[in-house]
Symmetry: D2
Subunit: 326 residues, 4 copies
């Protein structure tokens, strides 16, 4: 049974397959380390076309940081997360002192759960204009960063990928890092799972509508994607509830052939249909978020921005970054 | 089977009871009129304690305007809705030329789906200070309005009801109108159903946490409540999906005693439990909203504010209100 | 005496020269019409290099709409302004049914007086993606519009002109319209003067810092600029106050040679210096705005966006635009 | 010559008198200490009615912290400022373990330079509801704090003082702390001077319009005021420029009787008139702010909130506060 439930997290995609098959997935490698108390890092590598087929994600590296403690407001924990995020980013990119990095903050700054990308753009320490116009003010630990929030198709009338391609052709960065708000499958991941992938952004991923990807193929330069789940689609909640009940009923119906037959006859399309009757999506996508999503988005953007600041600049501390940002 | 699913709409409460019983509900009167194309008005009156028990809402009048066309951006339709809302408000209040009306905008202005009350406060034409300090500037069609957004318990540390009681005792209005964001049961109602009730606000209603009501009993003056659904609880989506499946299975299992017995043995608590496994509410209430909730809230606040402006002021047109607001 | 006081309005630049010389300015044509009650339109044309030198603005057309009634909230007046703005825009551009127009919203969406450009981007009816992806939904009165808010140098690290050039090269519009917040010389113009110029945006104009222009020369396509004053530099207030006093003293000192000599000896640099002692610009540019600037910016953006909507789309009414925007 | 220039800072009022008289001011005591590098604390005490007359501020204590380093983004410096602010607050208040403190955030949350009060309300660690509803979760170092942002007259139609009086009568705090955005005389003070006064808020102070004070007399409980300059009135800039020029001219005109006479004949009213011609206040108060005022207001609110958190709670660290706020 193939599922229609959408997740942007490779880790979840892998889990969804694995929980059905109970075996290792051919073409997909995976390791999990506990980096610090309450920080778990999972590195999934899709190594072959077989792996691509199996979990529905392109060949490449997908690193996930699970940081459940992030909502406690513990500053020290927050700093540890930023340092680990920076380390994982560095694993996937190769830079030298003259490298120029372009940060792309995807999403709509007026739609709270979609605003994490634009907010990262505002919190990243951009320096390209200092190198260009006031080189004497460059701190030798800085590398060149620039950053753009291109907006979304509904506001611009232009595919985000086209805008980014235009800017990349003009600015000629050595690396693009695209930040995006993601949809996950579990509400427990909202705001506390960060995914870093060297495959870039693929069409249709993230919580906005994207028809064109941001990848090395489309942009012509290595493209890293950093994402954080900010919503679960309401449809997912309905589907998961139904499957939990069905699983249970199947377990209990072992001695009742008619019943088992009936239950097995319920196909995925029918379940989607049932949920569709509960959810009227006349107003566009229905999403599930914590009520206090605004604060969560701010925190998430701060962590990702500082992870990037530590990873790209060559030795600036968080203190330094804060000073330069003012 | 009593349901745990939460709705703040009397109309939905009545429907939930009725769809199970297929009969009129003792103690509850109800009439529905089509006011204009695409505007339906339902007036529910709970007339007795029996009615209270039956639908779980106190004795009083509950008027609901269903305005599905509101998301189309048709200005003429919007004006019709405002006029009908004003008419329904006037049905439930008695004012004279010296009456003072206090608008209370409940909710948290930083939490988008909860901000409708504070936004109404900003869009209502307040006039009390004109009567008090520059009476020569009073337009004779104006009545005295004042308006406060008291904030929420988590930010103030004070029960909203206490703050309002303090202000009422000081300002001595003849009528309180409290505006609140509601939770409905169906996503199709979000942003396009308005409820006006002369029972005030009851403890625990609305999407914030309220422990104390705002009613004639607590405040000492007649209290009207105007609410608009801005969220459905994620839990409701899960529960509704499960019940839709169960209903279907029960229908199909008519000739299978064991199966029927099994299905009937699944109680409400167990269903809540299943949904609870899908939803991790570690981050607080999980709510379902359209992704573009910000715009919807603005529109909703504008309609409610103008409905009040037309209802309370005695002959001001929407043009007049717009001019005075600038 | 050449002035250091900055204005982005050609009309003011012309007036500043004229009030000193009391004669027509060679190389500059000018006509003023009263378009409707309380709407005055001034069309300045710089026709020669001499004119450029005289008022410090490049050869081209500069149309100014003075709309002092705009702060009264009169909807009918607002619509008249939008229609006149649309007419003046049409005077300066030549489009056919297949033309593609790119709107550029200059400025920083986080800095209230600089946010008018990005806000126009959100209120313009973009249609390019409809032509591209769902051509069957195109209303035949629509023309192709797309729109981008590129951000500011301090946030992106990239010259705005470079970002725009990259997008123009990719999207290939037939016309660029750049929207910018301006600095005027008089506080009385804030929010109620709109300038349309076919010369594009010149380096250093507007209230942000721009080092590179947006003109036909830099972008390769005709570029219209629409601007509205949202601030007066605090320095201007100080300088204007001083000059008013000096003018008065000079008048009164006609019979006193020493005094006249003394007053005439005060040069511009010295006046700047005096004002500089009053204003400490340690925190960046000091600007003068009405305290209620937020509302004013919203209104201004709405008028400019609708002026563009009426001018570019070929027969859509304001009602149509509102419906399509939802 | 008495000045019309408005300042809300007692320190500036004292300086304005002193620079004219060059002597100590009868009825006013003053001491200045350097608390840390780049933190200067001035404690002005108005001790008698004579002092009141002399500097135009009521009898009481006015403590000013000058913190010019605050815009550098140095976290350590920021913490020092918070600790010093807390110490100065403690000098002026007497609390015991059962004391209840009510924070009042004055100003309009929609008007950026006026939003500092409401923002402090959101950043203060309120605890009263924990003591009331979940006393078992009370940390023994907490004291009871509650907080309200009552809005402004133009939005509520009710004098702020009346709303606060209503809440005070109901909630019965032992101390009120009112936070307000101030107007200063010098742009160099914007955002980097904090005033703490045990005289409360006087009518007409702050940048909003207040007709009624918040003082021990009106509220019935001790009332502390904490303010931070966020604007200078544009009028002040004009007036200061003129006076700087006049002072200079008077110096240079010592041997020219006619001239001296002429200059001395220019009275204050006339200067106001000259500036009035430069400034058209049709749109309401014109204020001077740094263009990046939004960020500055956020920082200011954070410092004041944490100063209060450290001063009122009895031993909570900034780390603790951050943790509890999440």
């Amino acid at each position: 049974m193939k599922r229609s439930i959408r997740t942007d997290l490779a880790m979840e995609a892998r889990e969804m397959v694995q929980e059905q098959n109970q075996i290792d997935i051919p073409g997909v490698k995976s390791e999990t380390v506990t980096a610090d108390e309450d920080i778990t890092i999972t590195r999934v590598e899709v190594v072959s076309p077989l792996g691509e087929d199996n979990i529905g994600k392109p060949i490449g590296n997908y690193i996930t940081l699970e940081i459940p403690g992030i909502s406690d407001g513990d500053k020290q924990y927050e700093e540890q997360v930023k340092v680990h995020l920076a380390n994982e980013i560095r694993r996937l990119v190769q830079l030298n002192d003259n490298s120029l990095v372009l940060i792309i903050g995807l999403g709509n700054w007026n739609v709270t759960p979609d605003a994490v990308g634009p907010k990262v753009v505002e919190k990243v320490l951009v320096t390209r204009h200092i190198f260009e116009y006031v080189p004497e003010q460059v701190d030798e630990r800085m590398r060149q960063i620039c950053a753009v929030a291109p907006g979304v198709l509904g506001i611009t009338g232009i595919e985000t990928g086209e805008i980014v391609k235009g800017i990349v052709d003009r600015v000629k960065p050595d690396l693009v890092i695209a930040i995006d708000a993601l949809a996950s499958r579990k509400t427990s991941r909202i705001g506390n799972t960060i995914q870093v992938a060297d495959t870039g952004i693929n069409p249709g991923s993230g919580i906005g509508n994207k028809r064109m990807g941001l990848t090395k193929e489309t942009l012509g330069v290595p493209t890293l994607a950093i994402g954080i789940p900010t919503v679960v689609y309401a449809h997912t909640i309905g589907r998961d509830s139904l499957e939990m009940l069905l699983t249970e009923l199947v377990d209990q119906a072992t001695n009742n052939n008619n019943f088992t037959q009936l239950l097995n006859g319920i196909d995925e399309e029918h379940l989607d249909c049932l949920v569709g009757e509960v959810l009227t999506e006349a107003l566009g996508d229905l999403v599930v978020t914590p009520k206090e999503i605004d604060l969560l988005i701010d925190d998430a953007a701060g962590i990702i921005a500082d992870g990037i600041n530590l990873a790209i600049h060559n030795g600036l501390s968080l203190e330094d970054v804060s000073r330069y940002l003012h």
